[in-house]
Symmetry: C2
Amino acid sequence: MATHLADKHKPTLDTAVRALHERTFFTHFPENPSPEVYGENADKEGRESYTKHLNNKFEELLQENPESWTGQEESPYEQKALGISYPFFSPETLVSRAEEAFHQWRKVSPANRAALLMETLERMRTRFFEIAYATMHTTGQAYMMSFQASGPHAADRALEAIAAGYEEQTRFPESTDWEKPMGKYNLKLNKTWKAVPKGVALVIGCSTFPTWNSVPGMYASLVTGNPVIIKPHPKAILPIAIVVAEVQKVLQENGLNPNICQLAVDSEERLIAKELAENPKVKLIDYTGGTEFGNYIESLQGKTVFTEKAGVNSIILDSVDDLDKVAQNLAFSVSLYSGQMCTAPQNFFIPENGIKAGGETLPYEDVVKKLADAITGLVNNPKAGPHILGAIQNPATSARVKEADTIGGKPVLTTCDFSNPMFANARTCSPVIYEVDAANKEAYSRELFGPIMLIIKTKDTDQSIELASSMAREHGAISCGAYTTDPEVKEKIMDEMALAGTPVSFNLTGGIFVNQNASFSDFHVSGGNPAGNASFTNPEFVIKRFTWVGFREPVVG
Amino acid sequence: MATHLADKHKPTLDTAVRALHERTFFTHFPENPSPEVYGENADKEGRESYTKHLNNKFEELLQENPESWTGQEESPYEQKALGISYPFFSPETLVSRAEEAFHQWRKVSPANRAALLMETLERMRTRFFEIAYATMHTTGQAYMMSFQASGPHAADRALEAIAAGYEEQTRFPESTDWEKPMGKYNLKLNKTWKAVPKGVALVIGCSTFPTWNSVPGMYASLVTGNPVIIKPHPKAILPIAIVVAEVQKVLQENGLNPNICQLAVDSEERLIAKELAENPKVKLIDYTGGTEFGNYIESLQGKTVFTEKAGVNSIILDSVDDLDKVAQNLAFSVSLYSGQMCTAPQNFFIPENGIKAGGETLPYEDVVKKLADAITGLVNNPKAGPHILGAIQNPATSARVKEADTIGGKPVLTTCDFSNPMFANARTCSPVIYEVDAANKEAYSRELFGPIMLIIKTKDTDQSIELASSMAREHGAISCGAYTTDPEVKEKIMDEMALAGTPVSFNLTGGIFVNQNASFSDFHVSGGNPAGNASFTNPEFVIKRFTWVGFREPVVG
């Protein structure tokens, strides 16, 4: 590998490692899709590039001799097939090619691996807009989220994984002189250590965040020397296919085997995730998706597994300064991408005697009404609604929302019909609200993926905290929002939710939302409850991907 | 807690953290049991203290209201019961007391936990000789090993775990101001993070190294805020009971609940390890012992597990400078504590065409004879034999050695009778040697715990490497010794054994042996093969014991 890549990327790498430890604001890829940042024609060209893929074969990959071509993506905005087909390879072929590539990749130094991978992110940057349109038309995300989540935010999370992996592999010396005084003489040993990668890695993607949830595991495995097989969701392939293609080109340009990073596309008729996961050569698995398959992945013996599964996220309402601002903030959080986020809030705990707001006590009913009104207002605002809600990725999600009355709650807001003025055929769904009795735990103790908001009337805030915390401990949670002006209540929420391994955002209003998660600052799914152990990006996320092995020999003479 | 403890131990803590990263020679507890170091009467007083325990109740623990008293230890040197009885508590009592203590311990800061734990090691130091005699008469180790392994070496490994745990918990800021430019304004958040301990921890000890193998997990769990239940092997309790008693005293002196660290003694009639391990409140398990029970521990869902199980350790003989020195070194390694070490070598791979020694080729038969002669010489040297071999902990081990001819090998050295002049009744056993055909993999693909040495005649060194590496990958290995003067062969051994997750000691002669493992320098069982993932002490050993949880709130004003 040309050393110019290592030199080129070293300053950013060092800055990224420092950012990991400072945890102040840091980003390498600008999130603003404006022409001033990305160029006058970037958006237009990105859209054209996306359009060219439609009804075509995706031929950019450097994986040879496909066994067939397959592809089943459909646009949630247009409700029609994209017509893109991808090369298909059997699990056996994929694993044996990965094994072969492993012995080349593991011999590249951690510093050079980091540089090569950072170069691939720069290539990805040139295709952010194309990836954005690909994300819109596979996931149903609105334009802005498609751009940010699949482009700069994903690339920042990937950079974070590269930085963490590089740091951990270089945290102990490569060699040292060990000298032990033995009384009459000194015993001298030369010692050396290697960070030995575990082997073939598999990344199983989800249908809603095809790059954001896949690149951290992918880059974490790669930077630590493991070859990776990326198995996207059959309905959301194109965004990550573009990333994999760029990685393969950089590998080939630098004289390396492109199979160090392979794309493994499958179809509903021939799903290959289980076969790949169970292959004894596959040592590492990153998985994002439903709980049932996630639990199966976690039960596989002899694998190191990172998961992000479902959780039930809570909002605890105790006391606020200004309920209008709070309601607007929460309405946005519930509506954003129609609740199809692992960090979206679902269970809203409100005391039956109401909450304190700016000195007064607001009755429970008024709080519920405020929240419902805020959602209705947001959804019906033509300048906001379509850009926030986007479309529904999976018809099962719309069906779940439409059947939400079967949960056994009292309806507060039941119509989820919403039409997108830009896409007449879009599959859309705005939030519904149901009130559920605190005693009816069954109703609110599982994730209802999509824009379903449950209001749980509690005896008091203590019960709200107890329920939010026990839900997280027993069923998992990835986020929690809490509103309180009382320092003691705040302390109690922190303590109880900490024990449930759930991060808490307090008193959010304005332009920051419980669903959002900042690279280089917010730890994501750090493993303290059943929602998963993906751990973006604390040291655990990278060090479990390699083994320290030491060698020693007496010093001669 | 009085801050004087934090001040007192801070310099050593900082030095220990630095030592972890330098990996040069470092020790805090002197390994030499000489009167100049430990005091004129230290040995005598230690022996007397040990003797006072015999045929008595062990009443030092601060655990209240025992349900009964139990104890089944016997001296391998005297082959008679020690007569010591310990308080028995049901698993339910132990876990509920640990849960209660948890909520106190987790609120002590990482720095104060580290200081308190370092103070307990200083108390342990005052009882090193007593622990040494307790270790001799439970494990059968010789005096020197009993002193070093159960005293200073164990305390150094504990200090290593404290240092690593302290470092990892303080590696990210407790709080930070996060400020994101949003164009028209800056978004400001206060962020804080907590390292949240996972919960009740269990340490399951083994019969041969009652403190060395238990204190790393015990101190790693404690320093990260988890209460610990120590379940020693029913035949090797006293050494760790003394340590636990000292920990409890320090806790109580500092106003803390002694149940933060509990001893859980059981007996053959009422074994409680499974019941403890399966308790849903038990979140962390450290286990040392046989493979079968270890695999069961690893299969438990919802637990974080650290294991040290069995492995088959190899010696690869390719070329040497001086075979006599090599044979002496290996004879010592095989004889040390009669092979009852997880790092003891078992499979010796020798090419059928012999090895190069100082320019000449030595025939295979001559190499075998040299090794056998070196063992015979060592064992029969009255100044060495008894001090190296010690006694056999478990009658099953002697039986295994006596029945070694059933393995299907060709006998080279079959008498294992050895009598210890100091202990007429000692259960002893010196090494036996069998030659096994390389094709007869079944014979040498499992651990034959005890002084059994198998010589495997191979086609050439390439085959030796391939077999040693595949044994480690498939059946586990904790150590490997290799002898070669050829840099290319050395490189190949490093590469193949690295992939098998096995550290390699090259060309050891003189006063350093493949079985030995230095704290603060040699990583031990770092997780790359089926022998376990105890990982003394790389970051993985401590960071899996807590979860990072973050909190954030907008800056007001």
